[in-house]
Symmetry: C2
Amino acid sequence: MTKTVLFSAPAASWESYAPFLKNLFDKVGLNINLVQDTNNPLNVDYIIYAPNGPVQDFAPYKNVKLIQSLWAGVETALQNKTLTQPLARMVDPGMSAGMADYVLGHVMRHHLGMALHGSVQPGEWRNDTAAPLACNRTVGFLGIGALGMYCAHAVAKQGFNVLGWSRNLKSDDVVKCYAGADGFAQVLGQSDILVLLMPDTPETLNLINADTIAQMKDGAAIINPGRGPLIDDAALLVALDSDKLSGATLDVFRIEPLPADDPYWTHPKVLVTPHIASETRLETSAAVVVENIGRGETGKPFLHLVDRSAGY
Amino acid sequence: MTKTVLFSAPAASWESYAPFLKNLFDKVGLNINLVQDTNNPLNVDYIIYAPNGPVQDFAPYKNVKLIQSLWAGVETALQNKTLTQPLARMVDPGMSAGMADYVLGHVMRHHLGMALHGSVQPGEWRNDTAAPLACNRTVGFLGIGALGMYCAHAVAKQGFNVLGWSRNLKSDDVVKCYAGADGFAQVLGQSDILVLLMPDTPETLNLINADTIAQMKDGAAIINPGRGPLIDDAALLVALDSDKLSGATLDVFRIEPLPADDPYWTHPKVLVTPHIASETRLETSAAVVVENIGRGETGKPFLHLVDRSAGY
């Protein structure tokens, strides 16, 4: 029997995704009618969703088995009170690979002191600036979900000592795992470079603030490819100006694009990147969508379902 | 029987190396008299050597079995015509690890476009600049000796497509190996990022010149942690100015420290680092010295002997 999948994302996404999705549905033998809109919401079996897509009222879609987000972050989706159907986050292996590149690259930037080398005066030959070996540096991850753990492993492969904090204690062969308030203080206190990969929830708001920064190692650096509200920006700027922290790489902000008058842009210890740490990749994310719809059709549990009480 | 090992390197090196060496000689049961100078050259069995150490005339040391360099590069040693004894390069696992950090870090710098992100105007939100996945980028190594191969593996672990060129064809599970003139052109033509880790010999002088740059991919980047004379500097500057090449990270130069009026210092596409890509590390390099002297005492072949006809 043909199933109807409604694609509710901006038109540009349709242009790029539709051929990949149709090809993959055929390949795995799913009989799917992929549509951009419909007059009969009750006929829709699945919705492929982006928060900036056309459907904003999900109440009429009473027979939908799964809303599959194309975005990794679901804070906007969860603010939509009409969206009560099972919701899956996008966990895209291509996105994970891209994020791991970003995280490892910026870990190396701080580790090697590239900012110093880029800012010396001509002729200033600071050959006292060779980095310690990676095995003598500790990189901490706040957030070791699927994405965070993938990035932590990429960093560990290069020989760094890697710590990770999550709400519920995990175990891992290479990442030393912590949970709870004590564990949080441990990761803060040991990390030379701290990577923020937590979701944006009421509990993570201003996670990095004057109090938590005070618990960090002197001279530590912060990388934030997670979410802007994780950081109390005023507190971070104070810590950078006072040399408590040595640097920051920031990819996400409370307001995006980051306004031209924001002090981050010109701060000598900050590198701003324009929310490009990673993006959903067509080939790999289309495969995830098709896999999850296939699971719905064969009675298997959906992957990456959002836990609404946890907020991600 | 006690053997005499002469340590001919600057006094500061003696301060740092002597305790490590003595401890390790004891540990492996070698009966060694480690000295900073001697009145009886004929009594010396081994010399630990740095080109800037006190001994410059090696002719009197007729009974020396091995001169073990503390430096990876041996071009200065080979210019000393009195130094005819077997000579071993330093192949230090700590140095390899540090070099791999440097190479991977600067590969990531070019891969992620950090220079662009660091040079935009406040408010310029270039969110079209997410990098392709590492698997869609090719990194070529000119020089895959012990050090180059180690670095190539670190880069391959992150998912890049990795090529390597050496004088004699090697084979490897992850690095696609090339040799000869045809192979050289292949590596030049395929690499998005080219890493120079060849020794300084008459054959490698100006390896990167107008002709070889012309064979490179448009927009490729160069990383040189090898030796300064590998690059024809004028040709590189022309290629950067014409946008043939997108950037360069340079750690070594014909004259070091690099003079303040050198155009590299202020070139927007060049990052100068002050010959800190890697350095010999005490703990690990002392272990290499002790290993090689132990081999001499037990009749095993020495490691890392220099081939004088090849120049390294």
